[in-house]
Symmetry: C2
Subunit: 235 residues, 2 copies
C-alpha cells in the first residue's frame, strides 16, 4: 500500500488532522499514530445534516490516541446550496451513476476545512496537515482531487508565516489513490474499530445509517470488497 | 489609478465582496458599484476584539448599495494566537517599524475568509471575488501579497464546480498596489463617507478609535496624505 506520509524519526512531530467521524479520516488517524505523529484532530460543526458525526469524531479521537480534539463552528448553513447543509434539498438515493457533481457537494467545503486546519497548524507550530480525501470512489467532488490538494499546499506556503521563516507546510492525503476496500483493510490491520464511525449523510441521532445514500453504498461495498464484517448499524 | 477589475458591460454581474467595516473594503464596494457589479457583501464574525466593525460593515453595505449583506460566524478565537482574537495578547502601539509578522496577524485569516467567499460565490453562481487587501502599507501580513492571491485563485478554480463547467473564478484585489492615501482619494471621489468605517484594532463599543495601534496610525497618515479631513472619532 502506497502512502505519502513521512516516517517520523525519534521525537513525535505535531500534525493537524481533519477528523469527520467517518471511515476515511479514522483510518488516517491510525496511520498517523503508526508513523509517530502527535495528532491534533480538528472537526468542524458546519450545520451538517448528519451532526451525529461529531460525536463519532470525539470517540474516534479518543480511541485512536489523538493528543487533542478541537471542534470549530462555522455556520455554512447560512450559505446552503447542498443537500448536506440545507434540509430542503433531499439526499439522493443510489445516485452513484448520475453524471456531474453530486447535490451532496458542499460548495468549497474542503477549501474551508483546510483553511481552518492551516490556521490551527500555524498557531500550533505544526507544518503537517492530513486529510482523508480519496478520489477513487468520490471523483464527483472537485475538492477531493490531487490537483486541488497540491494547489492548496501552495496557498498554505504563501499565505502564512512559512513564506518568511523557511519552513514548509505539507498537505498529506495518504488515502488519495485508495479505494474504500483498501482503506478498510489498512485500518483493520491497525485495529480501527469502524463501528465507532458514521458515514451516512442522513444518519439518525443514534448514528444509525439509512443504507441508501451514496455514502452508505460506498461504505457497504467497501466492507464487502475488504472481506471485513460490516459493523454499520442501519435504521 | 490602475484597477484590476473588469468593467461590467450591460447587465449587472454578481460578485462577492469581503466587507470588514474598515476603510479598504468600503472603498472596494464603491469601485464595484461604479463598475456595475451587483455586490453580495460577506462579513465574518470571527471572535475579533473589534467586533464593532460588523456594525460598520452593515452601515457601509447599506449606504454604498450592496445588493445583500451576509454575516458568517467562525469561532477563530478557539484557535487564538493573535492579538486580534486572544484578549490576553495586547495590541501593540506604534509597532510599524518592528521586523517580522505583526502580532495582530491572525493565522491564515485571509485564506479562511476567501474560502468562505468562494463557497458563497459558488452557491450564488458568481465568479468574481473582491478583497480589499493592499500590500503597500501592510507588507507584514503574508496573506495580503499578490502571490498569495494568485495561488488562492488557482485553488478556487480547482476546488469547485469551475473545474468542470468551463467557468473561471477571478479574485480581484483592486487596491493591491495602492497606498492608504490613494485609496482614500479614490473612495472620496466616489462619495464614500469614511466616518462610517472603523479601522482601529481595539475600537470601543461606540466605534471610537484608540489612535495608537498600527491600523490607527496607517489610517491617520492616509487621510493626511490624501489631503482629506480625517472623520475618525477617537476615544
Amino acid at each position: 500500500m502506497k502512502l505519502d506520509m513521512e516516517r517520523a524519526a525519534g521525537t513525535q512531530r505535531d500534525a493537524v488532522l481533519l477528523l469527520s467521524g467517518g471511515l476515511d479520516s479514522a483510518t488516517v488517524l491510525a496511520l498517523m499514530r503508526r508513523d509517530g505523529y502527535r495528532v491534533h484532530a480538528l472537526s468542524v460543526s458546519y450545520g451538517q445534516r448528519h451532526g451525529v458525526e461529531l460525536a463519532s469524531a470525539a470517540r474516534v479521537a479518543q480511541s485512536l490516541g489523538a493528543a487533542s480534539h478541537l471542534v470549530m463552528h462555522v455556520d455554512m448553513d447560512a450559505i446552503g446550496g447542498s443537500a448536506l447543509t440545507d434540509s430542503r434539498i433531499a439526499v439522493p438515493e443510489d445516485a452513484g451513476d448520475m453524471p456531474g457533481i453530486p447535490v451532496t457537494y458542499v460548495p468549497a467545503r474542503n477549501t474551508i476545512f483546510l483553511s481552518l486546519a492551516l490556521s490551527y497548524a500555524e498557531k500550533l507550530g505544526a507544518r503537517d496537515l492530513f486529510v482523508g480525501v480519496n478520489s477513487v470512489d468520490y471523483s464527483g467532488y472537485p475538492d477531493c482531487r490531487p490537483a486541488f490538494i497540491a494547489a492548496f499546499e501552495k496557498v498554505a506556503n504563501l499565505g502564512t508565516c512559512a513564506v518568511d521563516d523557511g519552513t514548509h507546510f505539507t498537505v498529506h492525503a495518504p488515502l488519495q489513490a485508495l479505494g474504500k476496500g483498501d482503506i478498510i483493510k489498512a485500518g483493520s490491520a491497525l485495529g480501527v474499530d469502524y463501528s465507532m464511525t458514521v458515514s451516512c449523510y442522513q444518519a439518525d441521532a443514534k448514528g444509525r445509517a439509512c443504507g441508501h445514500c451514496d455514502a452508505c453504498r460506498l461504505r457497504r461495498d467497501g466492507f464487502r470488497e475488504a472481506g471485513v464484517p460490516d459493523p454499520t448499524r442501519y435504521v
